[in-house]
């Protein structure tokens, strides 16, 4: 800690981070020297709460672990519970679940593209991307009755039918999405100011990524092929023709390309599902009070931000004995910290946004006073008392 360095607490309330996580940056002038992540800001004890609710009520808790990848959590939860209970869901329900998962991937990736453009100051692209994202939001609202938290999957199948007469309209909407995404690929690769702020920023090589167990688009932008839909297929992903998207430039531009190309793949998958969806009923009877046999199951799902694992243990009651959820972002933090070191302050937001963090954490502010060389952390009350003191006339 040479005397020229000083510490910038970024978060948990900071306009760059829409997510409640906090990082303590030690900077020397404009260059970041050291990073210390502190999460746990929105720890709601979900795993503990799930142990005291039956399998149907838990559906709605897992759906609300995270706003943007709610369907991914629900697919993983229902998959794990069905594996433990030995429940075989109808073929059509699998197609509908894949359809919902890919729609949500489009919605999440476009949301991220807008936020990333905003982080580097390109608000015009932010407005345009979020305007075009409304197409997929309307589609989701029509299919499931809600823009997020779709409550579509249930244990044993799916709750709502995909009416056949709407397919042509949905095809047109999906084509419009593909056309707009292609436009954004052209803009992202030709607009000089984006390239200036994205090429070489937050670089991380393939070996470091593997060593730090990164996952999802964050890892695939450094050349690690780890798309769960390809390497350990679930539902019907092994029958669907789509590419395994990964690039190896390792910087923020790589992350932009991976996510945008993946959006195109998701549009292709959705169209394929609409064309080949078989008929049949959509759910198997599962009454809320039903007990599950003893056993355990691990279910891996490719959520928007990476590999999502639901590990459930049942001991014969109608409530899970233990249900472990690991959101993909927790796996990406070690690689994020490695990306941040050595960069500029101006690149902090775009590198943070690069891994598309999706935390849910509670509130703490941490201070490190370089002069007195002591660290202290305040609770909410002490912080407001200090704030009043600071702002008294």
């Amino acid at each position: 800690m040479s005397e020229r360095e000083f510490v910038i607490p970024v978060g948990p309330q900071h306009p760059a981070l829409k997510e409640p996580e906090s990082f303590l940056f030690t900077v020397d002038g404009e260059v970041v020297v050291d990073v210390e992540p502190r999460i746990g800001y929105n720890h709601r004890g979900i795993e503990k709460a799930m142990e005291s609710r039956n399998y149907i009520q838990n559906l709605y808790i897992t759906e609300r672990v995270c706003g943007i990848c709610s369907n991914a959590h629900q697919t993983a939860y229902t998959g794990a519970v069905e594996e433990v209970g030995g429940i075989e869901i109808p073929e059509r329900a699998k197609y509908i679940r894949v359809f919902m998962q890919e729609l949500e991937r489009i919605h999440s990736h476009l949301l991220w593209l807008g936020v990333a453009a905003h982080e580097i100051g390109f608000d015009t692209m932010f407005y345009y991307v979020w305007r075009d994202r409304e197409v997929v939001m309307d589609l989701l609202e029509e299919v499931s009755g809600n823009r997020c938290n779709y409550a579509m999957a249930t244990v044993g199948g799916v709750r709502r039918e995909l009416p056949k007469n709407k397919y042509p309209k949905w095809h047109k909407m999906l084509d419009k999405l593909a056309e707009r995404t292609n436009y954004y690929i052209k803009v992202a690769s030709t607009e000089k100011t984006i390239l200036e702020r994205a090429v070489g920023v937050g670089y991380l090589g393939k070996e470091d990524m593997i060593r730090l167990s990164g996952c999802g688009p964050n890892a695939r932008s450094s050349g690690v092929p780890c798309d769960i839909r390809k390497i350990s297929p679930y539902l019907i992903y092994d029958e669907i023709p789509f590419e395994h998207v990964y690039v190896d430039n390792g910087d923020v531009l790589g992350q932009v390309l991976v996510r945008v190309l993946e959006t195109l793949e998701s549009v292709k998958i959705c169209k394929w599902v609409l064309d080949n969806i078989p008929d049949g009923e959509i759910a198997v009877k599962f009454n809320p009070m039903q007990r599950l046999p003893e056993g355990e199951a691990v279910y891996l799902v490719e959520a928007q931000r990476g590999e999502l694992i639901h590990y459930t243990i049942s001991d014969g009651r109608n409530m899970p004995y233990r249900h472990k959820i690991r959101a993909p972002t927790l796996g990406n933090i070690p690689s994020l910290v490695k990306r941040l070191k050595g960069g500029y302050i101006a690149d902090i937001p775009i590198t943070l946004a690069g891994i598309d963090p999706c935390f849910s954490c509670t509130d703490r502010m941490a201070f490190y006073d370089e002069g007195k060389d002591k660290t202290w952390t305040w609770t909410e009350g002490e912080l407001s008392k200090y704030r009043k003191g600071w702002y008294s006339r």
Binding site: G40, H43, S213, E296, A297, Y311, R364, T379, G381
Partner: protein, 169 residues
């Protein structure tokens, strides 16, 4: 990716059992392709993880779950090699809740071990900085919420007693 059959994964599990013997790696289970479970003794954990990493390409740690099985704790290491997820369950006695840290073999486990230490109280020995990761700063020491003896009411009484969340002045 070619379709991988169950036999290939059971072979991996059998190699492991042959390598470390029945008493160290026991009641292995391969419910379907891409999934396997096995119990591993705590002393042998580091060697098993090193062996799996070098021989069978288990280079990615998905997560580490802590489970309170009633008479003892169980720390479950979910390792993954190209889609094949292998869960190693390490029983830990309740009176001495410690487990060797695998951070220097698989660096990605650095945060997961801190989380298990926070929520279940199983201390990872040899971990670079086993600070608190998830629980609040002024959460009372020794209260590990995921242990079965704590249910939501007792946690609230234990914690509320200490002005949790109320304004200080």
């Amino acid at each position: 990716m070619k379709k991988v059959s169950v036999e290939e994964h059971t072979k991996v599990v059998e190699d492991l059992v042959k390598e470390f013997g029945e008493e160290n790696v026991y009641n292995t289970k391969v419910p379907r392709a891409y999934r396997a479970f096995a119990h591993v003794n705590r002393e042998k954990l580091l060697d098993v993880v090193k062996y799996l990493k070098e021989e069978h390409g288990f280079i990615h740690v998905t997560t580490i779950s802590g489970v309170d099985m009633g008479e003892n704790y169980e720390v479950v290491y979910h390792l993954r090699s190209e889609g094949f997820s292998f869960s190693l369950k390490v029983p830990v006695p309740k009176d001495d809740p410690k487990v060797p840290s695998i951070v220097d073999i698989l660096n990605g486990a650095v945060l997961y071990e801190r989380e298990v230490n926070d929520l279940l109280g199983v201390f990872p020995e040899g971990h670079p900085d086993p600070k608190r990761l998830i629980l609040a700063y002024d959460w009372p020491e020794g209260v590990h919420p995921l242990r079965k003896e704590w249910d939501i009411q007792t946690i609230r009484e234990k914690v509320d007693g200490k002005k949790w969340g109320k304004d200080v002045e």
